[in-house]
Point group: C2
Chain length 241, copies 2
DNA sequence: TAGTGGTCTAGACCACTCC
DNA sequence: GAGTGGTCTAGACCACTAG
């Protein structure tokens, strides 16, 4: 898929990361020791250490002396990322959490869903879900969710009325990359009704697209009443390539 | 200020980073060569290289063979960070850019401004500014800006009617850390008037607080008409400590 | 206590790029 | 051509921790 880099430690880094991203090495998995990998690749231990240290800094690995190196469980580090699991977010604020599945449909990709879940292949099967999230008994957030069954066929067998889609996906595809688009909108009429809002209430709309190795996994559009929610993001001087 | 780490390469890393953050080594400054630093610290070149490679990955440095290592010019890497310079953002979209200074006042910190610019010392001098940013002749964004003159006393001599505060600060304090809070709001009446909006128009409000070594530098609150603006943020599986 | 990762060295060769 | 960073090695010692 991705070409192999020229340098030894980058090649090791890439291969380990691919094993993590593809799920070959799931969270918790203990990977080979440095000396073993050094022997396997025919390099010095320093070279292996350089690759694994970098992956640790990036959050893929957790290392402990004597205990060895294990694949980390991804946590929603970035503040924006935290919306991955709304239940966790609500409970963290001290409120009770519940959700209601409004609608669930197995469909084929059409013009609308292809526009939302970009890169979808026409006619392929998708799951189309609609949720309301409830904090302390009051509507907290509306969610429209599409799931690409080509990438996650296991989703077809899940009962999303009892299992929240976001939490399930986080367990299933722990390491996918995500893009967020954040806007202020007036809610669409059905959404406003489900949230118990007037049509003029400012809402924060967060669209989250998740990609696994260039294939779209899921689309999620969250609509929050503006007065009930805010995003916080902290940045070091710079934080990315 | 911050305690010195135990390991050699972390100590080098910390000292170089401090030289950058404090402005001792401004953007473009050529720092000592690896062999020079190795001799100065009494360590091997590999140890210096480890520190400088890490700082390069974090974006603080740019390195070129034969050309040496220079302090990088911070670019608004993260999408949210990009709002640091609105003029650049507007022009990048192909529109013309202008701005109007609505108000400028030299004040002492009071209850309101201490709440906005958290960590401000009571009674200390601040600059209180208000802007409207204009894209293609139409109001694009409203900005309320506070500047802590204890940290940036030079700001007192600047004419912020011709020099936009955000751009000036970005040049002056290139490497400060920032926190963003993002909300959807109905605009306050004066803001709505300046933007030519109805009071019910959903707006995206972005509050940006900038900190330099635990001291608050500036507070900026940007209000965008929701239909005119969105934030985009991309996240690798994880992206921070 | 034994085994793992964390760190460091002294040297080496190479690739790139400025002069 | 000369000088810089990029990479790699073979070995070493240490700190931590699981058993």
């Amino acid at each position: 898929m991705s070409e192999r880099p020229a340098t030894l430690h980058e090649r090791i880094l890439t291969e380990v990361r691919e094993n993590i991203l593809t799920g070959t090495w799931p969270p918790g998995h203990r990977i080979p020791f440095e000396v073993e990998m050094a022997a396997a690749y025919g390099v010095s231990r320093m070279t292996v250490n350089k690759a694994l240290t970098q992956l640790t800094r990036e959050g893929y690995l957790e290392r402990r002396r004597k205990g060895g190196t294990v694949v980390a469980r991804p946590r929603g580090q970035s503040a924006v990322m935290r919306i991955a699991d709304i239940g966790e977010e609500v409970r963290a604020s001290g409120a009770s959490y519940a959700f209601t599945l409004l609608r669930a449909a197995l469909r084929s990709a059409d013009a609308e869903t292809e526009g939302l879940l970009r890169g979808l292949l026409p006619g392929r099967p998708i799951l189309d879900l609609e949720y309301v999230h409830i904090a302390d008994g009051a509507p907290f957030c509306h969610e429209r969710r599409l799931i690409n069954l080509d990438v996650v066929p296991e989703a077809q067998a899940v009962d999303f009325a009892t299992e929240q889609a976001g939490a399930w996906l986080l367990r299933q595809i722990p390491w996918s990359a995500a893009e967020h688009v954040i806007r202020a909108v007036a809610p669409a009429a059905p959404v406003a009704r489900h949230l118990g809002l007037g049509a003029a209430t400012p809402c924060l709309e967060i669209v989250r697209r998740t990609v696994l190795e260039y294939r779209p996994v899921t689309f999620a559009r969250f609509t929050y009443p503006g007065h009930a929610h805010q995003l916080i993001a902290t940045f070091s001087p710079q934080s990315g390539g």
